[in-house]
């Protein structure tokens, strides 16, 4: 029997964009166990809810994560609107949908770039991020910022976007589509990518379900679970199918995200076609009292915001369950048995967002 040693991996590691920490129990070059520990960048954002006005906290909720920021802000607003039973104007819901999908586009392009970078495919990384800039420009011109949009508020959104601008965004995305297809064809067909990712870090369908995987991790293992189907915001009026792969390996997770780019473009086009005229926000008076679970689909999976309020302007409890946190369990499972050199790629394949996971 070979001797076991423990290699600390992270929080600082050259290939990691996020400070995840794993103690890898190794036998020679093979991982036999991985012990995650979290809390390195805990900021106590959930506790802060007791000190801030519930209407202002949306800007803090957005800053839980720097990539899926808009969806955090939107889910928090859904929770407050759910407690107060606010009739949010439909145009605001459609705009939220458009911005959610633009966020998903930029998040997936960022991740595809990082994935290419982690396997040493630098030019693919640069091409992914080059295309991401177009999406970020659309976000900045309509919301005022590139990644922390700060455009959602309780009862609607802060800015309207003209129909002309929305049509320009759709036209811009249609120009982007062939370029994304080019990019995707590299991820799908290139031998380097396939050789590096196929059969690596497999999570079976049963494991993904039992361990509570979320988002692309679940969908890459053959489970068609997409919270957008429950129809929050304007998703109930849009037509889409979750992207599902069955292999459950890193390659399948890459494919799911690459294909979701096109789902997002379709959803934006549909939303812009159907968007109604009208106001984009409403006057919110009074304070919330009660509790609510709001769920939505982030680029990384299902996020849950639980909010409890007691009728004052400060909330009593705010709890976020982020997709990265639940995806750590499938990650630990699929790390067992792989080689040390594959660890960074497998860790990245769940799209870890430790900022989200530790708040």
């Amino acid at each position: 029997m070979s001797r076991q040693i423990v290699i600390p991996f992270g929080p600082q590691h050259p290939v990691l964009p996020e400070p995840i920490h794993l103690d890898l129990v190794m036998e020679d070059e093979r991982v036999v166990d991985a012990l995650p520990s979290i809390g390195y960048i805990h900021r106590g954002l959930e506790k802060l809810v007791e000190k801030r006005d519930y209407r202002d906290f949306v800007y803090i909720a957005e800053r839980i994560c720097g990539i899926c920021s808009f969806i955090h802000g939107m889910t928090y607003c859904h929770a407050i609107e759910g407690i107060m039973d606010l009739p949010v104007p439909p145009r605001a819901l459609y705009l939220r949908t458009v911005w959610s999908e633009l966020s998903r586009l930029h998040s997936h392009l960022l991740w595809l770039g990082l994935m290419a970078d982690s396997m040493g495919f630098e030019s693919l990384f640069m091409q992914s991020w080059r295309l991401r800039e177009h999406v970020l420009d659309d976000l900045e011109s309509t919301t005022g910022n590139r990644v922390i949009q700060g455009v959602c508020k309780v009862g609607g959104v802060r800015h309207d976007v003209s129909n002309q601008k929305l049509n320009e965004i759709v036209a811009g995305l249609e120009v982007l589509r062939p370029q994304l297809e080019d990019l995707m064809s590299v991820f799908v067909r290139d031998d380097t990518v396939r050789h590096r990712l196929s059969g690596l870090g497999v999570v079976t369908e049963q494991q993904a379900w039992d361990l509570g995987g979320a988002g692309p991790v679940l969908r890459a293992s053959g489970i068609a679970n997409d919270i957008r189907q429950i129809g929050y915001a304007a998703y109930d009026e849009l037509d889409f199918k979750p992207v599902v792969e069955t292999a459950g390996d890193c390659y399948a997770r890459t494919l799911v995200r690459a294909k979701e780019l096109f789902t997002s473009i379709d959803l934006i086009r549909q939303a812009v076609e159907k968007i109604p005229e009208g106001p984009v926000d409403m006057k919110v008076t009074g304070n919330p009292k009660g509790e609510f679970y709001a769920r939505s689909e982030q680029p990384r999976g299902e996020v849950i915001h639980y909010v409890k309020a007691n009728g004052t302007k400060n909330l009593v409890r705010f709890r976020v369950r982020t997709p990265t946190f639940t995806n750590i369990a499938p990650l630990v499972t699929c790390l067992k048995g792989i080689e040390l050199a594959d660890v960074p790629v497998v860790v990245l394949s769940i799209d870890p967002c430790i900022g989200c996971a530790e708040r």
């Binding site: 801030r52 800053r63 080059r130 900045e140 919301t143 005022g144 700060g150 802060r158």
Partner: protein, 128 residues
């Protein structure tokens, strides 16, 4: 076919110019909505303190007695909440970014001029 493709790619890369913007020779993208930095106009301020009370990061400190307004730009997240709430348009967002600062506290300090004397002075309201 492969050679033709690679020849096209090479010629595009050699003669096509850079994809990225030549910053700072070419200015960065700015839009009307871009939230660059917070700007304060003391002459419009009525010292109602709503910006201080509703700031999510407590970056703004307003002193009613001393009639001063202070913003810690290291704390400010440029969310624009104060701009939306300000009843007298004393605050607005500029699309340009502030130049980098290395030393704390990085505070912006303003003295608010006293309002012109009026026969019937309007009461100041503190909205919470």
């Amino acid at each position: 076919m492969g050679l033709l493709t690679i020849a096209k790619t090479i010629s595009r890369n050699v003669f096509g110019g850079p994809v990225t913007r030549r910053y700072p020779a070419e200015p960065a993208n700015r839009y009307d909505l871009t939230r660059g930095h917070l700007a304060f106009e003391p002459e419009n301020c009525r010292v109602c303190r709503v910006c201080m009370l509703r700031c999510p990061t407590q970056a703004i400190v307003v002193d009613r007695e001393a009639r001063t307004w202070e913003c810690d730009h290291f704390r400010c997240i440029t969310c624009g909440n104060c701009v939306d709430l300000c009843p007298t348009d004393a605050l607005h967002l500029e699309p340009t970014y502030r130049s980098p600062e290395a030393d704390r506290p990085g505070k912006e300090f303003h003295e608010i001029p006293a309002p012109p004397p009026k026969p019937e002075a309007g009461g100041e309201t503190a909205e919470t």
